[in-house]
């Protein structure tokens, strides 16, 4: 993905599978199908992809994005260990992990009872702000986010969407996979539709009317209506 590109949305009914493949948690892709900063990464592990500058936010924040019974500082380490100063010669720099928690708290207004509580003790919206904030603070070149505001209250959702837009404006590539059309049309510059594992050509959001997206979601390719149904078979 080119550095210059900004936010891009994918309508996808199986975002879970997509994020596993894009992040490298599930190694299913050929090397060339995932490219990070010009480097073929389809065969690389999630840690190696993070080292290339990628960051990932899965849709399920508790249990997947974070370890519920571990402190926020430990959950900062969960993704931060790959490419940061949190680990030196195998030893954890606890102060550095706590600094990440403090910065995420400050920047994204994470409400919590104490400085470093267990992840499970935060409300859904606040934990989501922490999870998104944790990745954005790593200053990624590529951020892949699945369902960024799923089950989050309106206030927190607005904060998260703005953070994604700011990151894109700063030059990072942001890829959002979601089932929420309204959210995608609000934050994405371009939208593509995933249908039975096939990705459509991206539409500029201005062109992406509900009708066009609806057709794509039904499996029709907009230009060649005749061949469209072959894809899904």
């Amino acid at each position: 993905m080119p550095r210059k590109s900004s936010s891009r949305g994918v309508v996808d009914f199986r975002p879970f599978i997509t994020i596993l493949t894009l992040s490298g948690e599930r190694l299913a892709a050929d090397p060339g199908t995932v490219i990070i900063e010009g480097i073929a990464a389809g065969h690389l592990s999630i840690t190696q992809r993070r080292k290339l500058g990628a960051a990932f936010v899965p849709e399920e924040r508790l249990g997947h994005g974070t370890a519920p019974r571990m402190k926020l500082s430990e959950n900062a380490l969960l993704t931060g260990h790959a490419a940061s100063r949190m680990v030196r010669h195998g030893f954890i720099d606890t102060a550095a992990t706590l600094r990440t928690v403090d910065r995420a708290t400050e920047t994204f207004d994470v409400r919590k009872a104490k400085r470093d509580p267990e992840a499970a003790s935060l409300s859904g919206g606040n934990l989501q702000k922490f999870v998104v904030g944790r990745e954005i603070l790593r200053n990624p070149a590529v951020l892949v986010v699945s369902q960024p505001t799923w089950g989050v209250d309106a206030g927190a959702a607005a904060v998260i969407r703005q953070a994604l837009l700011d990151l894109a404006a700063g030059g990072a590539a942001v890829l959002v996979t979601s089932q929420d059309l309204d959210e995608l049309t609000e934050i994405a510059d371009r939208i593509a539709v995933m249908f039975h594992g096939r990705l459509s050509a991206p539409l500029p959001t201005a062109d992406a009317s509900r009708e066009k997206l609806g057709l794509l979601m039904g499996g029709s390719s907009l230009d060649q209506k005749d061949t469209a149904h072959a894809v899904g078979a």
Partner: protein
């Protein structure tokens, strides 16, 4: 009225600390009942078990001697259990470590070999224990075989192998046909710390193991990986941690520590290789690991406590003719209560009273 077990909103850290104490209290109550059934005075029996061993320096040293292998093995097991890898076969790794280390002692016997013998024996014991533990770990990772079963079954293989050696090729020719090797040379023996006492260098090694495990779990990224893989497997995968690799690692470490404990026991308090070198250290260490909250410092305390039951059991046998098996019953009951009380960390009891019906339906 109804008694229900209900999930707590948050885990109770208070219960997590208090649970072993509740378990010990319940165990003592149960044991008292058992003593009464056996026709013994429970107060006197408990006194012999838990108070008498603490009153003279011989049995205090003996407690430390017994705690040494328990603590070393349990620290290793705790790493496995934290990573959700269930090594039940520490007893076998203990025996294999003892056998492999003894091999050097047997081969250098009477040859005037230098002071390298003991360090080589310790290394050999640890390496053999690690390799032996890797068998169930590899079967688990490669073929999905249950490590609980395979590690347990390998205990009996190790036990019989040791038996064969001391009855066959390694038997002491001057040993009046007893199944034992000759006494190890002084260079192949773990030195005692206090002249004339039984406390040996192994106790220091056990303390070092506790310190190293504390640093590993609390301060290093590997320790963090071990904890995450056990606590939240999917988050661990997202973090990029390889659970298979961690199963191999934790099994290797726990096998190495069990093997080291085995060779220290043989080259220390026992002094030669023979069957029955372990009164079930590898199994008792499972109780130690859980009683100690899978925490190295906790394990040190729990190890001393379980060692006390071994010594107390021996004294109770002599003083009150209480069968030694009662000690095993005690340890089993203790593990049962620890695990039962641990469910109160995440759950709590609640009494539910049926709400009175306002309507006149009930006569």
């Amino acid at each position: 009225m109804q008694l229900v077990l209900e999930k707590r909103a948050e885990r109770s850290n208070t219960i997590a600390l208090v649970s072993p104490l509740i378990a010990i209290a319940l165990t003592i109550v149960t044991m008292s009942i058992l003593f009464v059934i056996l026709g013994k005075n429970p107060i006197a029996a408990l006194g012999v078990y838990f108070i008498d061993p603490l009153t003279d320096s011989y049995s205090l040293q003996e407690i430390a001697v017994k705690a040494t292998p328990l603590v070393m093995i349990a620290v290793g097991l705790s790493l496995c259990y934290l990573a959700n890898a269930w090594n039940i076969g520490a007893e076998g790794q203990f025996l294999v470590g003892a056998v492999a280390g003894s091999w050097i002692a047997v081969k250098t016997q009477g040859t005037d070999a230098g002071h390298w013998v003991l360090p080589a024996m310790l290394l050999m014991g640890a390496a053999a224990g690690a390799l032996y533990a890797l068998i169930p770990a590899i079967c688990k990772v490669r073929f999905g075989a249950s490590e609980i079963l395979t590690s347990l079954m390998l205990v009996y293989v190790a036990d019989l192998f040791l038996d064969y050696l001391v009855r066959g090729p390694w038997r002491d020719p001057k040993g009046f046909n007893f199944p034992t090797t000759a006494e190890f040379d002084p260079v192949a023996t773990v030195p005692v710390l206090i002249e004339g006492g039984r406390l040996h260098l192994g106790a220091i090694i056990a303390l070092l193991v506790v310190a190293a495990a504390t640093v590993l779990l609390g301060r290093t990224i590997k320790g963090f990986e071990i904890r995450v893989v056990g606590a939240a497997p999917r988050a661990a995968r997202f973090g990029g941690f390889n659970s298979n690799q961690l199963i191999l690692l934790t099994f290797a470490i726990s096998g190495a520590l069990a093997g080291l404990a085995g060779i220290i026991e043989v080259a220390g308090p026992v002094g030669h290789l023979q069957p029955g070198i372990s009164p079930g250290y590898g199994f008792t260490a499972i109780i130690v690991a859980f009683l100690g909250r899978l925490n190295p410092i906790g394990i040190l305390i729990a190890g001393l406590f379980l060692a006390l039951t071994f010594i107390g059991g021996e004294q109770a046998q002599i003083a009150m003719k209480i069968p030694l098996d009662v000690t095993k019953v005690f340890q089993g009951i203790l593990l049962f209560y620890v695990l039962a009380c641990d469910s109160l960390i995440l759950y709590r009891f609640r009494l539910i009273f049926p709400s009175r019906k306002v309507s006149s339906g009930a006569a």
